[in-house]
């Protein structure tokens, strides 16, 4: 605690940032779109600076009371390590999104009113220091993103996606409020909703279990934790890309933050070991499911959305392990797992928003997001493709990128997991490790498919052949994100240092002594992962190779038609050759679809082969359905309709029957009274 009783300078500044963001929405609504975007960019940058300042020099001061909220009570804002960490990510992505929106890619202008509000709402839920403001921010966030998803509301799929999304948002609130209420300890008299008061009475017994379930449903659904991830791909595909970047990069992280805040911070450390199990199991499940779907989806935005599901799963595994280890009183392991999770939060937030911005660029430059229509963008959109390569490298977890650093740490934690003990848990951890590795490999395949089909090869449509690079603001935003990705990859230790306060707060131990700027190690003193060294090794090897080749080989090269096992050069009327003859998304995914998709996603493919003599082209139709939607969402919708059908009967009774209902109710109540009085 700080000696001075005044809320810190950083906190006040960030609170102002949130307020300004809300006001900016009005500014944009008043028609000053570009001004609003510039201001958003500036404010987010300022927020990032303030947040860094806090991480560097600040200490968690007393909360800041704002006279808005529950009647008379107002809300409290506070800033501590864990929220500051997530806030940093949010501010960075927010700035990038605003910058991208600066050069209007078609309909970006119509998002001007809600984008700042969206960021502001997320800021609010990160700064929240009492139950009400957390739920308020969370719901405002959901509402704003709901509006943003509806940006081009005239086509039906967008509307249905937004509707599903809203349903999940409502579910979130309906679970989080009771969870909060269970956390607030029972004492007659005034209810104190502030986190400080909640921490003093950690829940026990069935309350704790209920809270765990409610939080997993309420926040997990928002984070895209399996099996409640079904809303995520359609929503991300429906939203404008810079919004998807925010949703996937920041919003899912805010949901994770809520999980961390409630399960780690507010519930206290005195919880059973098995608390981590559901997070681990669901996480591993979702990781594989998402990564596999990423190899099957045909829309590059949907591909990224599915890989978001995968990465959220990995983070969830880390969180679950940290919970279990903390309960088993293994703080070192807990810190390792939590550190890995936070590292992946940062890494995924950065590279996923980068990828989404790239998707937006592709949509703008090439006019489509369908893999089957893209191709060859590397020639027309070099900058975008370069940034996408960086993002894809992180997605595929290739050393020495940030994705690899975080997944390495997570794997180290999982491999050390068996120390928690109990053969059942150990076996579970073994299976989880297996699934994580599977997911990572699948993600690599998805990354290759994404880049190889979408950005390399030959253009598949004239529109793609005529693609053009996006505006400078968008390019700069992407380049900046790419740079951040590389830095985070080269210096994971720095990210862990930024997370130190959060680690201390959640698991009681930092990675101090185990992570320096250059090196991250599982245990103090043991060898670990030194990203800069690996990078240097690679660089040296590359330099050596180039040197050898330069000295020994004949330089230069000739151009000619592709050999392609003797296929002739393309005819004049098809300058790029027949686009059909190259591998598409569906064909690239085929082996995986056959090997895993049939079992896990009920995938099936159907070759539509024209009769001899017909001139139409043969087509390959691929269908797959997500088990979660088949087993969970569709039945729920069915029940809802059936029940509403029953409820409707009551409405259309004749007056006489309605009177009989009244009569019945009266008799029922009278009987009840009689019985109660006889007792």
């Amino acid at each position: 605690m700080s000696p001075d009783a005044s809320p810190g300078f950083w906190l006040t500044g960030l609170a102002i940032v949130a307020g300004v963001l809300f006001v900016l929405g009005l500014l944009a609504a008043a028609g000053r779109v570009r001004a609003a975007y510039w201001a958003t960019l500036a404010v987010c940058a300022a927020g990032a600076v303030l947040d860094l300042g806090f991480l560097a020099a600040g200490h968690a001061g007393p909360p800041l009371s704002v006279p808005i909220g529950l009647p008379g009570a107002g809300i409290q804002l506070a800033l501590d390590g864990i929220s500051a960490f997530f806030l940093l990510l949010l501010m960075l992505i927010g700035a990038a999104a605003a910058a991208t929106a600066l050069d209007d890619h078609g309909h970006y202008n119509s998002t001007a009113a809600l984008l700042p509000v969206f960021i502001g709402a997320m800021t609010l839920s990160l700064l929240a220091a009492d139950a009400f403001s957390l739920v308020l921010g969370f719901e405002a966030m959901s509402l704003a993103s709901f509006g943003l998803v509806l940006t081009n509301h005239t086509d039906p799929p967008v509307r249905s996606a937004a509707l599903l999304y809203l349903g999940m948002a409502a579910l979130g609130a309906a679970c989080l409020i009771p969870a909060m209420a269970l956390l607030v300890h029972l004492e007659p008299g005034a209810v104190d909703l502030s986190f400080a008061a909640i921490r003093e009475h950690p829940p026990q017994g069935w309350r704790a279990i209920a809270i765990l379930v409610l939080v997993l449903i309420g926040a997990g659904s928002k984070a895209g934790l399996a099996p409640l991830h079904v809303w995520l791909p359609p929503a991300h595909a429906a939203a404008p890309s810079h919004v998807s970047a925010l949703m996937s990069g920041a919003m899912t992280k805010v949901a994770l933050y809520v999980i961390v805040r409630m399960l780690f911070d507010l519930c206290g450390p005195a919880q059973p070991i098995w608390w981590g199990v559901p997070l681990m199991a669901l996480g591993a499940m979702g990781a594989v499911l998402g990564a596999l779907r990423a190899n099957i989806e045909g829309d590059i935005t949907a591909v990224r959305a599915c890989s978001t599901v995968e990465n959220i799963g990995l983070i969830a595994v880390g969180l679950g392990l940290a919970l279990a280890a903390r309960s088993a009183d293994l703080p070192a392991l807990a810190a390792l797992a939590m550190g890995g999770a936070l590292l992946h939060v940062m890494a995924h937030g950065l590279f996923k928003s980068l990828l989404f911005l790239g998707a937006g660029a592709a949509l703008h430059g090439a006019g489509t997001r369908a893999l089957e229509r893209l191709g060859g963008l590397i020639h027309r959109m070099p900058v975008t493709t370069g940034c996408m390569l960086v993002g894809a490298a992180c997605l595929a977890a290739l050393p020495p990128t940030s994705g690899f650093a975080s997944e390495w740490t997570l794997f180290q934690a999982v491999l050390a997991g068996p120390r928690i003990g109990g053969v059942a848990l150990q076996t579970l951890i073994c299976v989880v490790a297996l699934l994580m590795a599977l997911a990572a490999a699948l993600a690599a395949a998805a990354a290759v498919r994404l880049i190889g089909v979408g950005f390399l090869g030959r253009p598949r449509t004239p529109r793609t052949a005529a693609a053009h690079e996006v505006g400078y603001a968008a390019q700069l935003a992407m380049l900046a994100m790419a740079l951040l990705c590389l830095l985070a990859g080269l210096f994971p230790g720095a990210v862990l240092a930024a997370a130190a306060a959060g680690l201390k707060q959640t698991v009681g131990l930092t990675m101090a002594g185990r992570s320096s700027l250059l090196l991250v190690t599982p245990q103090a003193g043991s060898p670990g992962y030194a990203a800069p060294a690996i990078a240097a090794l690679l660089g040296l090897a590359l330099a050596g190779v180039v040197w050898v080749v330069r000295r020994r080989a004949t330089g230069g090269s000739r151009r000619g038609p592709a050999w392609d096992c003797g296929f002739g050069p393309p005819p004049a009327w098809l300058p790029f050759g027949d686009p059909i003859t190259q591998y598409g998304g569906a064909s690239f995914g085929q082996p995986l679809r056959r090997a895993l998709g049939v079992a896990l996603l009920g995938a099936f493919e159907l070759v539509d082969m024209p009769e001899p003599g017909q001139t139409r082209a043969a087509r390959l139709i691929v269908r797959s359905k997500d088990p979660a939607s088949a087993l969970l969402f569709k039945p729920v919708a069915r029940w809802r309709d059936a029940l509403s059908g029953y409820a409707d009967h009551l409405q259309f009774l004749t007056i006489r029957r309605t009177l009989s209902v009244i009569f019945g109710v009266v008799v029922l109540f009278l009987l009840a009274v009689v019985l109660l009085e006889q007792l």
């Binding site: 090897a541 000619g560 392609d564």
Partner: protein
């Protein structure tokens, strides 16, 4: 002082790897030829091939991008970096602290991904086939590998290859079921990763059965040279890995007295020879399997890996 020696050992190791890779290929080809009753090429034939390829000027397809031209070098560099981390004749080289098995796996993935991207860059069907199948195999190989790493990490308490090798070399752990299972798994993975029979046939000329070859079909000249060399290096790397982990005996200590390196090198050569013969015999005795049976093939490795880990838990009540 010792650091200097360690550095020397390191450079020596890299040089040895680079030199031994083509030699190994030559050896295997020769043995196979003998088994098939042919005379076979000389051992240094691969060197001659590399020379020739380096001298030829490459032909790039019309729509090849910079990525296509850069890929072989990057891929080779990644493999080389991985190879530099795997101790051959002596432990405790300069890069020993970096020699994390997950990092090694990552580097190999890097080289594979780069080549796969290059394969798709021209936009031919064969490049696509190759890339798709290569990535698919990896999807099943990597989890199996991770399980092996899991077993070793549980035994040695670290994922650092040098530490593991040291622990295993002491032989204090004795013979373990888990190690046996993991070895089978690793061999299976190695076969897949190097595209050897029965998974892929490096010597095939029937495009539809190609995997790796299809992926690099468009390459020529120095690019192809780098790729061929890289393939050879990767095979050597895997065999060395198997030696280092499962038969770590005889390897010297980098910081130790240099003459011991000789014995280590000899031991290493002997192990490699044995493995080469085994591989040749194995390859010439069975037929290539259909592509879609490879996942099942790898599935076995995967299950063995799981079994190895579980055995550990049960056997020593690991806590």
């Amino acid at each position: 002082m010792s650091t200097i020696i360690a550095l020397i050992a390191q450079l020596l190791h890299i040089a040895l790897m680079l030199a031994a890779a083509p030699l190994l290929i030559g050896l295997i080809r020769r043995i196979k030829a003998r088994l098939l009753g042919r005379a076979g090429p000389s051992l240094i034939q691969p060197f001659r091939d590399l020379q020739r390829l380096l001298r030829k000027q490459p032909v790039l397809a019309d729509n090849a991008s910079w990525l296509f031209a850069a890929a072989p070098a990057v891929s080779f560099a990644a493999t080389l970096a991985a190879a530099a981390l795997i101790p051959s004749f002596a432990l405790g080289m300069t890069t020993a602290p970096l020699a994390d098995m997950i990092v090694i796996a990552g580097l190999l993935t890097l080289s594979r991904v780069v080549l796969a991207l290059a394969g798709m860059d021209i936009g031919t069907a064969f490049g696509g086939i190759g890339a798709s199948r290569e990535m698919t195999f990896a999807v099943f190989a990597e989890p199996a590998l991770l399980l092996v790493i899991f077993t070793l990490a549980l035994l040695a308490g670290s994922t650092n290859l040098d530490v593991i090798a040291t622990v295993l070399r002491e032989g204090t752990l004795g013979l373990r079921v888990s190690l046996g299972l993991s070895m089978v798994a690793v061999i299976t993975i190695a076969i897949v990763e190097n595209g050897r029979i029965p998974v892929d046939n490096p010597a095939t000329h029937l495009e539809l059965t190609m995997v790796h070859e299809a992926m690099v079909l468009e390459y020529s000249g120095r690019h192809l040279a780098l790729i061929e060399w890289g393939v050879a290096l990767r095979l050597l790397l895997w065999l060395t890995l198997i030696c280092t982990i499962f038969v770590p005996f005889g390897s010297g200590q980098a910081s130790g007295f240099p003459p011991y390196w000789i014995t280590g090198a000899l031991a290493w050569a002997a192990k490699l020879g044995v493995l080469a013969i085994a591989l040749a015999v194995f390859e010439s005795s069975i037929a290539k399997m259909r592509v879609f049976r490879v996942p099942e093939f790898l599935g076995i490795a995967l299950l063995l890996g799981v079994l190895a880990v579980i055995f550990l838990f049960v056997s020593q009540g690991f806590t």
